[in-house]
Amino acid sequence: MKKYGVFDIMGPTMIGPSSSHTAGAARLGKMARYLCGGSVASVRFLLHGSFGQTYRGHGTDKALLAGMMGINSDDYRLRDAFSIADAQGLQYSFEPADLGDVHPNTVRFEIVTKDGRQISVTGSSIGGGSVVITQIDDISVYFTGENPILITKHKDAPGIVSRIADLLYRAVINIGNMRVNRADGAKTATMYIELDKPLDKQLIDEIRKIPGIDEVLVLDVGMEGVNHAL
């Protein structure tokens, strides 16, 4: 049995016309923005299935781009995403594409950051404005953004995961879900941890200081949409 709160029924408050194709798209854009660290130079949107067919009529294109600029799904500026992006010098393009055996409402963001890094993020809008990120670069992931996510890139060596877990334990933060990926032969591992409450800045700094940690990102697109890592 699905569980609904009052404001799942009376909401979301959103820019129309579609919770999946507009509100969900904005949310996906925002998650992609956080995942790449926020400073985007250019983005190519590959639109799969229904996204590829109906993106103009649903404003999916504007919503995705607005999300990439940190604009929320209930913000009127979403409608002016193209002109806002042009004014910021953000380059963008939209292309229908076949992304394979994925949800009908799927988008792949191919992002180049201002410091020249390339990152690819894939996500789906699975109904009612709910979304899921399924891939970052060539690594499969699965998170919805409903809970804060801690992402680390670190040296593939024993003990690092337990140091992070220990810091979370001391801060009385529960781990809901976690996953460690290591590309074959790579010396770097990527870890995704779903948490049951947000991290404060001090704790993020402590995690950064653990020897062997290369990168720490916190994805928190809850009501406030604050990313503590930025």
Partner: protein
Amino acid sequence: MPFELSVEKLIGILEKEKLSLGEYTLRSEMEESEKSREEVLSEMAQVLATMREAASQGRERPVKSVSGLTGGDAYRYQQAIDSQRTIMGQVMSDSVSMALSCSEVNASMGRIVACPTAGSCGIVPGALLAAAKKFHKSDGEILMALFTASGVGIIIGSKATLSGAEGGCQAECGSATAMAAAAICEMLGGTPSQAFDAAAVALKNVMGLVCDPVAGLVEIPCIKRNASGAVNAILCADLALAGVPSYIPFEDTVEAMYKVGQSMCGALKETAQGGLAVTPAGIRLRNRVLGVKPQTK
């Protein structure tokens, strides 16, 4: 969880404790979200403010959809009301004009409250605000009615579905209509049992309604189905308040709606592959939106 019981039991509790469904829903939200009564009420007041805005924008000036397929209907109809050309009386025509406005605002990328979905966003505001206007209901009373509507939505969502892709239009516009009917009924002094009767009849009146949007967009026929839903909601509230019972109880009706939705083929569930979407006119409109050139023989 407060809604994990049969509707019959719930009605029993409400009658025994002398609670409205709206009050019960408000209290359960406070409990689940660990928020105060004031916090939950003020969140709902924001919802109401957005609804009012969406319900008036399309009546004040013509609003055009992003695709260019539709627009200006709420404005046209409002002009008919203003010049007393409508057949329906004030409440019914107000409900239609506000429901059209919300739906057109939605299609134009304006701001709306999905209640329960964006495609059905005009029904609850249209019906409820029109009825509230006639009986000079305060904002406090309208807010409580929105909790009644939420309670009905929570029950349908948990026991069946609110999504057109899963259950057809009956699950989206039908659920919105049931929510609105119960909300109006309770706002005007109906008992919980009458409110659920109103909701049941509302769902019964659109049982089997398919989701067949032209070009896959939330416009044709969705906008007019919002107008129709608002009228249906007021009708059902009126029947229940007059003491007309629903011979099939609400819970049975919800289950029937779910089963009907399951037995619908995929073409009739938001895929734009059946119903109006594949009529010659539907296909022409779709080609226009997607920029497909008509094939010449």
